[in-house]
Each structure stands twice: as C-alpha cells, then as structure tokens.
Symmetry: C2
Subunit: 352 residues, 2 copies
C-alpha cells in the first residue's frame, strides 16, 4: 500500500512503526512526548516501546480515556506537563490513541509555544478512517463538542492495523459506519466490496481505501466550505440520535451506531428528495440493519430529536439542511428537509 | 498617512474608526463582539458606541484589566460567553484594548469554532507600535508568559492616537521604549527624530514610522526564525530585570522601563562586542536615562538576574544569546555573551 500524500504531509501504511521512528530520527527533535490514554497506554504503547527506549529523551503523558475527558481542562493538564518537562519549540508530540487523543493532542501541540510539531498514530478504526485525516483538532468547553480547536495539519500520520486487534467489537463497528459512508457518498465499487467482506475485522486494504476517500474530499475543501459537507451524510439525524442517547440511555450508542441509524433515515430522505432509487434504499437499509443492533426511537421522542437537529445546523425557516445521496456512490449537498419529512424518515427506520 | 499592508491584511491610520465600521458592514457578519477590559470599557468604548448602536446585533465582553489576567482561565470565560451569546463561525471579534486584550482576544478568536475573524483596535502605545502587529496571540498558563498561543493574522488593525489621551504617562513611556528600539535597530534617522521630539505624547507620524518598521521586520520573518530576532534588542537583559522587579518590588517596573535598562546594558555589550562606537553608546545611554527614572539593581542581585537570563533563552555553554547593535540603525543577531560581560554591562548602567 503506497503512502498517501495529504496537505503537506504523508500518511504511512506499510511498516508504519519503522517509518515513525525514521521520521523522529530525521526530525532532530529536542525531545519526544508520547500522549496516550489509559487504554492505549496498555494496549498500543508496547509496540512503540522498543523504539522509544533507543531515543535520547522521551516522556509519556497519559490522559483518562473517554469522550467526556476531551476537554479544555485536560488540555491545561497536558500543557502544564509539557512546561514541567521543559518542552521547547523543537519538541515533537506523538498522539497515540483514538480520536479523543488525536483531537486533544493535536490542539495542545498546535497551541503550545504557538505550535510544535505533532504526528498522529490513530489506534481505533474510527480515528484511522476519519479523525486523523483532515487537520481538524478540537476539544469541548462547557459540554459543547469541539467548540475550541484549530485547523492544523500533523507532520505525518502512521496507520497500523495491528492496533485494532485489541479494540472492542463495538468500537470497530463504530469506525465501520464511516467506511460505509465513504462508499455511499463517493464509490459504489467500494460499497459493493464492503457489502461482501467479512467486516468483523476490516482488512488493511479496505481501511486504505477509506483513507484515500476521506483524504481526497478534505484536500478539495480544507476549510469545510462546500464539498466536505459530503462527509455529513448520515450525521444530521445521526448526531441528534447520538446526543439523545447520551442524555437518555444508561449504555448510550457509540458515534457509529448513531450514524448507522442516521444513514438509513437520510437514505430514505434521499429516495424521497434526491433521486436515490427504491432498490438502492432497500439495499442500504438491509446492509446496515444486518450489521448494527436495532435501536428503539420512541415515537414521543421525535420532537426532541428535531429540536436537537435545529440546534446542530444552519437552518432556514425551521427546515434542516442535509447531505443526501443521488445514488449509491454520489451525493448532493444542501437539501432542506421539513420536520414532517424527518419524522417520516425516523418512522421508516422504526418499521424496518 | 497611508494604510500599511501587512501579511494579508491592512493597518489603517486615517479615520480609522470610520474604516473599522466600513469593514464591519462589508464583512456581513452574523454578530459583532467587542472585547474590552474595565479601563478600555470606560475610556475607549465611547468612541465606538455611536457606530455600534447602528449595527443589527453586537455584544460586549469585558475582562478584568491587568497582565495577571492574560490567562487561559480568562479565555475559558470568554469562550463560554461566546457560546452563551450564540456566536457562530461568521461572528467577528473586535479587540479593543492594550496588549492584554489584543493577545488574549486574538487567541480566543483564533480557536473558537476553529477560528473566527477578529480585528485589533490597540489602545495603548505599546500595543499600537508592537503587540497588534505580527500575528502573535498568546496567554499564560501556570504563570508562564505567552506559553499558549497561535500565529494568526487579524483581518485588519485600526490605529487611533485619540485613545492615547487617557493613557497614564508611565504606560506611554512603556510603549516609547519599543519605538526607541525600532530606531536603534533599523533607522538612524528615525532615532534622531525621536531624540529631538517632545515625547510626552508621541505624534501620530512617529507611531506610524514605528509600525512601518515592526511590520517590515515581521513580514520578512513571520515565524521568528532569524531577522525577527532584531526585535529582541534590549530584551535579554530587559526581560530578566522585568521579572526580577515583578518578584521583588512593591511597584514593579513596566515592560518598557525594564527594556530601557536592557537597551543601555546591551548597548554597552554592543560597544564591547559588535562594533557600536563609544560615542554612540554614550548617546544611547544619555537619551534613555533622560527619559526614564533610574532603577537600582543591587550588586548582590546580579547572580539572580543571570539565572533569569539563562532560563529565558537558548544558551550554549552557559553563555547568553543577545541581539546587539553594530551601530545606531543596524543590528547583529546571535552574539554570545558571558556571565562576566553581563555583570559588567549592569555595572555600567549602575555607574551612569
Ligand atoms: N478530527 C476529526 O476530523 C474527527 C473526525 C471524527 C471523529 N472525531 C472525534 O473522535 C472522537 C472519537 O474517536 P474514537 O472513537 O477513536 O474514540 P476514543 O479515542 O475515545 O477511543 C474509543 C475507546 O477505545 C480505546 N482504545 C483506543 N485504541 C485502542 C486499542 N487499540 N485497543 C483497545 N482500546 C483502544 C480508547 O481508550 C477509548 O476507550 C470524538 O471525540 C470525535 O469528535 C474527530
Ligand atoms: N503579540 C505581540 O507580539 C506582543 C508584543 C508586545 C507585547 N505583547 C503583550 O502585550 C501586553 C502588554 O500590553 P500593554 O502594555 O498594552 O498592557 P495592557 O493591555 O495591560 O494595558 C496597560 C494598562 O492600560 C489600560 N489602558 C489601555 N488602554 C487605555 C487607554 N486608552 N486609556 C487608559 N487606560 C488604558 C489597560 O486597562 C491596562 O490597565 C503583554 O501581555 C505583552 O506580553 C504582545
Ligand atoms: Zn462521524
Ligand atoms: Zn518588548
């Protein structure tokens, strides 16, 4: 698998751990910092240790695992550790973890001393196919997701499917939803390939193709002005379902589980409004329901979901702006959907 | 006075308040936020009010005045207010104040929703001739100055010497030190002009020339790799004296008062090591001592000052890296000075 070129940096696949330490050596850094969370400290750091111990100087910084810790408060903790460890402008930060570590670590590095170099070593499927590509960093303030951040490219990304063997199945499924999305918005052949693959542990080749697609989209639209909106497919309804579940369920949906529901609803809307054929709608719904557990959206929660969608997006006159599918492999941005249409899409999902 | 072009934005001088509101109107912003501190809220905001009330929508955000409040904690407070006020990506932030407001406001804006537009309206002499030009934003964490920040250019800067009439004399003198520095490092004619002017309230023309010089230097070296080090003249010794005074004096020196001392010491070093003539050293010392009160650096504090300098800079083998003068109007970077040389320079200042 060839190295993929992104916006001024490379995304390595083959021998990526060797490549990482080649990069470190060539960079002539004053010191190397490895950021992990408590899970990646146990499961992923051992793959780096044999190389780390050969460096002149490195330090480990660990944050507590979990979405709820991707906060400005944890950033302050990491900045203080960098200060205590004497990190200067020529320090390098290696972010080793899922999207929480790569988003928070990217923000911390992009602002420490007005920006030090950082690289991403994503260890979840979601962070490999999504979070680590595109240059968005971000953390939460006051419970508002990603409200603070920068657009800053890493110096390189190192992909290693070896990390995925310790990842819980639900986390794998969460990343898989983004891969299915990549096929649906950009590449019908890839969708067909995914459909026919054993997806309990997606192959390195499938991950590679997803990274290619995400990279191509963000290169065309680095600051999210237009085409990048393609990546929102499934996310309008999906985000609302995700937030709703976080607020109401003891064991809330993962991001990908919520997006899976969102993609079915938005495929229904695509059939209604953007040209997706009924055959293809059926296909999307059947592939996704086969992979993901059914979630009950109670009829009396629909109004709450709609309110969440209104918060989430730029709306016009109480309508919701959605990215939809013209057909499998092609998308259409800026479709306005009414409240009733959104309820009908949720009813479609409930009736499957 | 012509508008000065900087790195992708303009610095306005004539009719700058009118220009500011032209800019606001043309920008089609969803909402305008004005950041002040409690002093600029009283003394400077009234000049903007007649224009603000004509806007569809604006909000005021005020921070507590003072260097000690340029912290990440105050940033969190401002981010929360932006969230509460519903600021979206098309919001504009107007930073109306001294370097504390422009540095903190620039950082807050450059990271809110991964960056919203901001403009600088500097209201102190120091922020006009120094802080508002160059694209550095920054705040303190754990008492470490400017440890967190970004390089982000404002959309425009609006200079108005009308603000300076309410500025305390000591604050004026603080900014004046940077103007003297601009002459010393880059422009002997400008230095001569300053020497002969009434500096109790520097004229708009003198301020303009300082902004031109600072702008030219940062344009040539936006990320502080080489030439920008010219701006460090007076700041190696000066920063140490400033920190020492903050730690030891009831009524500590201002930044400019400390830099004034630093420039005398570093002029002495320039005479010793970089070619500055003895005549010109005498001239520098006499102009500066005429303007600034004498400060006593006790002989037994010299070691403490040297330790502060060692912390501050990249040093080699216990020597200190200084920017010096070849002659008035020309500088030389990366001069290594020994402990003894630095003590001698402090003794020279003490003996004046
Ligand atoms: N920057 C972007 O463009 C972008 C895109 C999508 C998502 N995101 C962000 O990514 C985050 C979600 O990412 P995520 O799903 O990777 O979450 P995560 O980082 O919380 O990882 C999920 C869980 O898996 C654990 N883990 C990570 N790697 C492991 C491994 N190899 N073995 C065992 N356990 C492992 C983690 O400790 C965590 O408990 C969200 O905050 C989201 O906002 C960012
Ligand atoms: N970004 C840069 O490149 C850069 C360069 C130099 C300095 N700085 C920063 O600038 C800060 C110092 O700036 P400063 O000296 O402007 O400090 P400041 O902002 O604290 O202002 C000094 C005092 O004057 C008051 N004030 C401001 N305008 C006034 C007016 N028109 N009338 C009456 N009172 C007024 C303020 O409330 C404050 O009390 C430091 O934090 C320093 O790190 C940044
Ligand atoms: Zn997603
Ligand atoms: Zn200064």
């Amino acid at each position: 698998m060839d190295t993929i070129q992104s916006d001024g940096y490379s995304i390595f696949f083959d021998d990526s751990i060797t490549e990482l330490f080649k990069f470190v050596e060539q960079g002539n850094y004053s010191k190397v910092f490895v950021l992990t969370d408590d899970n990646t400290g146990i499961h992923c750091l051992p793959l780096l240790q044999p190389h780390l111990v050969k460096l002149n100087s490195y330090d480990l910084i660990e944050i507590t695992a979990g979405e709820e810790n991707k906060t400005i408060d944890f950033c302050i903790g990491v900045w203080k550790m960098l200060i205590d460890f004497g990190a200067d402008r020529k320090a390098l930060m290696i972010n080793l973890g899922g999207g929480v570590v790569t988003d928070l670590g990217g923000f911390v590095a992009s602002t420490y001393k007005r920006g030090i170099d950082f690289v991403q070593v994503p260890t979840t499927l979601l962070s490999q196919v999504d979070a680590s590509v595109g240059g968005k960093t971000g953390v939460d303030v006051d419970g508002i997701k990603n409200i603070i951040g920068t657009f800053t490219q890493p110096k390189a990304v190192f992909m290693n499917d070896g990390f995925l063997s310790t990842l819980p199945q639900r986390q794998l499924l969460s990343g898989l939803a983004e891969m299915l999305k990549h096929g649906l918005i950009c590449d019908a052949d890839y969708w067909d390939e995914l459909k026919e693959s054993d997806l309990s542990l997606p192959s390195a080749e499938l991950i590679y193709r997803s990274v290619e697609i995400k990279n191509a989209v963000v290169l065309e639209d680095p600051h999210e002005k237009n085409i990048r909106k393609a990546l929102n497919f499934g996310h309008t309804v999906g985000h609302a379902v995700e937030t709703y579940s976080l607020l109401n369920d003891d064991d809330p949906l993962t991001h990908g589980e919520a997006i899976a529901i969102g993609m079915i609803c938005e495929a229904w809307l695509s059939n209604k409004k953007a040209g997706l054929s009924t055959n293809q709608l059926d296909e999307v719904a059947s592939v996704i329901t086969r992979l993901y557990p059914k979630y009950e959206v109670k009829a009396d929660s629909q109004a709450e979901l709609f309110k969440l969608m209104l918060n989430d997006k730029k709306n016009f006159d109480g309508q919701i702006n959605c990215t939809l599918l013209k057909r499998i492999g092609d998308f259409s941005i800026d479709n306005l959907c009414t409240e009733v249409e959104l309820y009908d899409s949720l009813n479609y999902y409930a009736g499957l």
